[in-house]
Symmetry: D2
C-alpha cells in the first residue's frame, strides 16, 4: 500500500516537472517615472533582480515594471486594468505619491489628500479582489535636505502618514521609503544639500538611491512570498 501511494502521489508531480517549469511568482512594480526608470540599467528593479539571483529564490521570481512618468494615484487607477491586472501578478508594489504632492506647486495639478486616500484604497480593493498581494510604499523625497526644509516635506510626511494608516487598517506590509531616505540623509548629507546624495535632481534616483530602494523593497517582498 505504501509504495502504491507514493507512486500515485508522485506521478503527477513528476510529469508536471517534465512538462512545464514551476510557475514563477510575478511581482509588478506600479508607479511613476521613478519606477519607469527602475527597469533601465542600474534602475532599482534591475538591481533587485541581481539581488534575487544571489538569493535562495534565483529562478522563481519574475519582476516587471509598470511605471509611467508624471503619474499620480488616479492615473494608476485608470490604467490598472491594462497595465497590471492583465499580467496576472501575484504581488503588486504601489509606489506613488510624489507627483500628487509635487504638481501642486509646479503646475497646480496635484491631488488633494482626501482624494489621494480614496483612489489609493480603490486601487488596493481592486487588487485584493483578484487575490493579489499588495505592498505599499511611502513616497521617498522631493529634495534631500534633512531638516524638513524642502518645500514639499510637509505634504510628503502627511501623505506618508495616510499610506501608513491605510496599511494599518488593511494589514498590509509597508515599505517605508520616506523613513529610509530620511534616516539615510540624516547620516549622509552633512552639507544639507538638495540633491546628489540619493537623487540626481531632488527626485529621481541615482545609483545609491536605486540601491537603497531595491534593498528596502526586497526586505518586504521576501516576507510576503516566503
Amino acid at each position: 500500500m505504501k509504495h502504491l501511494f507514493k507512486i500515485v502521489f508522485l506521478l503527477p508531480l513528476a510529469l508536471l516537472s517534465f512538462t512545464s517549469p514551476p510557475k514563477k511568482i510575478k511581482v509588478v512594480f506600479f508607479g511613476d517615472s521613478i519606477t519607469q526608470q527602475g527597469v533601465q540599467p542600474n534602475g532599482y528593479i534591475v538591481k533587485m533582480d541581481s539581488i534575487i539571483k544571489q538569493s535562495r529564490w534565483p529562478d522563481s521570481i519574475e519582476l516587471s515594471g509598470a511605471g509611467i512618468g508624471g503619474n499620480k494615484v488616479y492615473d494608476l487607477y485608470l490604467r490598472m486594468e491594462d497595465d497590471v491586472l492583465k499580467k496576472n501578478p501575484d504581488v503588486v508594489i504601489i509606489y506613488v505619491g510624489i507627483n500628487d504632492v509635487w504638481h501642486k506647486a509646479s503646475s497646480g495639478t496635484g491631488t488633494d489628500a482626501d482624494k489621494f486616500e480614496k483612489f489609493y484604497r480603490a486601487i488596493i480593493k481592486k487588487l485584493q479582489e483578484k487575490n493579489i498581494k499588495v505592498i505599499v510604499c511611502t513616497p521617498s523625497v522631493i529634495g534631500e535636505r534633512n531638516d524638513n526644509s524642502n518645500q514639499q516635506d510637509g505634504d510628503l510626511n502627511n501623505y506618508s502618514n495616510i499610506i501608513r494608516k491605510i496599511a494599518k487598517d488593511l494589514s498590509l506590509p509597508v515599505c517605508d521609503l520616506r523613513l529610509a531616505f530620511s534616516d539615510y540623509l540624516k547620516s549622509n548629507n552633512p552639507n544639507n544639500t538638495e540633491k546628489g546624495i540619493l537623487t540626481g535632481d531632488r527626485v529621481h534616483l541615482n545609483e545609491k538611491g536605486n540601491l537603497l530602494v531595491a534593498g528596502e523593497m526586497w526586505k518586504i517582498i521576501q516576507n510576503v512570498i516566503k
Copy 2:
C-alpha cells in the same frame, strides 16, 4: 383570419398596458456641486422637470441627479459604477470641468488638460459599453465678465474645446453651456460684473442661471429621446 390576427397581436400589448405602466426613460445628470444643487428647489433639474410636465412627454421621463460638490472628472470616473451605472440610465448628461480648472488656482489640485481628456473619454466609453446615450456639456463660467477677463476664462475655453473635440470624434450631442452663457452675458451684463447675472457667486447658478441650463439641456435631451 384578419380578426384573429388582430386579437392575437393586440392581446399581449393590452395585457401589458393593464399590468404595468410603460417604462420611463431614465436620465441621469452627472456632475459637481452645480448638479448637486440642481435637485434642490429652483435647481436646474427641478426646473427641467417642470418643463417636461408641460411637454408632450409629461410622464415618460425620469430625471435624477448624481452631482457631488468639488468633483472633478476623475472623481466622476471613480464613482460612476455606484452612482450612475447602478441606476440603469438610458441617458447620462456629463457636466464637469469647472473644478478641474478652478482648483488649479484655489488649491493647486486642478486637472491637467491631457488627463482631463483621458478620463472624460474613459467615462464615455464605460457608459457606451452599457448602451447608455451620452450628452456632454461644456463648463459654464467661473466669473461672469463678458470680455474674457475672468482669471479662468482661458482654461475654460480650452477645456470646452477639448469636450467639443471629443464629442465630434464620437458623434455625441453637445450642450454648449460655455457658449450659451457667453452669449447671454454679452447681452445682459452691461457693467461687466463678476457675478449676479446667472450666478450668485461667480460659479453656482442663481434662478436665471438654473433656468438657462434647464432650457439648454432640454433642447438636447429632446433630440436624443425622440
Copy 3:
C-alpha cells in the same frame, strides 16, 4: 562730599523731569493679520503692554502695531515709509512670512524664497539707515501638527532658515517663533490636531498663542532696549 555729589548728579535729571517727560522708547510691530489682531483685546501687543506695566520699565516703552491682513514681505517694503518710518520708531520687530508661503497654495501668489530674502534684506537696510534697531521673527505656524506633516511645514522651515541666516549675517536678534511654537506643540498637542492649541484656525493666534508670542518677543525686546 557725599551731599555735593548727590546734588551735582541729580540736578540734570531733576531739570529734565521738570522740562519734559522722558522720551519713550517706541517699538513698532510690523507684519500681517496676526500683528493686525495683536492690537485688539487679548492680542499679543496688548498682552505685552500688560507685561511691561509689571516690569521695571512701566512707563518708558510705547508699543504700536503696523500689521495689515494678507501682507507679504514685499507689501511691508511698499508701505514702510508711511506706516513705520513716519512713526520714528526706536525698535522695529518684523514678523512676516506666513502669507509668503501660504498663498502659494491658496491663490498661487506666494513669494519665491530668493525674492523673500531680497525684500527682507531691503527692509532691514532701510530701517538701519534710520538707526532703527531691528528684531526679526521666524514665522510661527500654518497648522499645528507637531510631526512636520502640515502642508507648508517644509517651506516655513526653509523661510525660517533664511531669516536666521540674514540675522546671523547682520548680527540681528532673532525672536524664533517657529522654534518656540514647535517646542510648545511637541509637548502640548498629544492628539496631533491641526488647530486649537495656539491658534484658532491653524494660523491666527488664540489666547495662549498671543501669550506665547508676547512672552517670546518681550525676552528679545528687553535685551535690545536695556
Copy 4:
C-alpha cells in the same frame, strides 16, 4: 546790425557745439526677460535703434534696456532706484505683467491683481516725481492661440484692463501690445498654434515678435518726444 545780431546770436551755440554735443533723449525700457533679450541682436530695442537711425531723430535718442528675467512688478519697484533712476532717463517704458500672471501656475508665486495695481502705480509715482515721462505697455502673450483658449488669457486680459485703467486715470500713453498681438494672431495664426508666430516658446519674442514690439512702441515714443 544784421551781422552783429548773427554773431551775438550764434556765438553761444557755437561755443556750446564746441564744448558739448546736444543732450540726447534718454529712453529706458523697464521690464522682464523679454526686455532683457531686447538688447541682444535682433531684440526689439536693437530693432528700434535701427528704426530711429532712419527717422528724423537719427542721433538724438539713446535707448537703454533695464530688463531682468523673471521680474514681476514688485521686482521692478525694488530695483528702480539703481537700474532706472540713476540713469536720469527722460522717458521710461514699463513692460511688465507676464510673470505676475504666469508664475501663479508655474510656481505658485504670481501677483494678485490688487497688489499688481498698487505696485504699478507706485512705480509710476516715483518716476513722475522725477519728471520722467512714463509709457505703459499691456502684457503681450503666454501662448499664441487666437481664441482666448491659452491658460493665462483671462488673467492677461484682466491685467491689461488694469493697466489701461491706470493709464486713463493718469493720462499716460499706452502701448497696447496685448491688443496688437491679439489682432496680429487673429489674422496670422490660421492653425491656432500655441507658438511659432510671434514667439519661439509661447512667451519670448522671435524676429517677427521683436519687430512688432519695436514698431508699436516707436509709434508711442514718437508722440511722447516730439
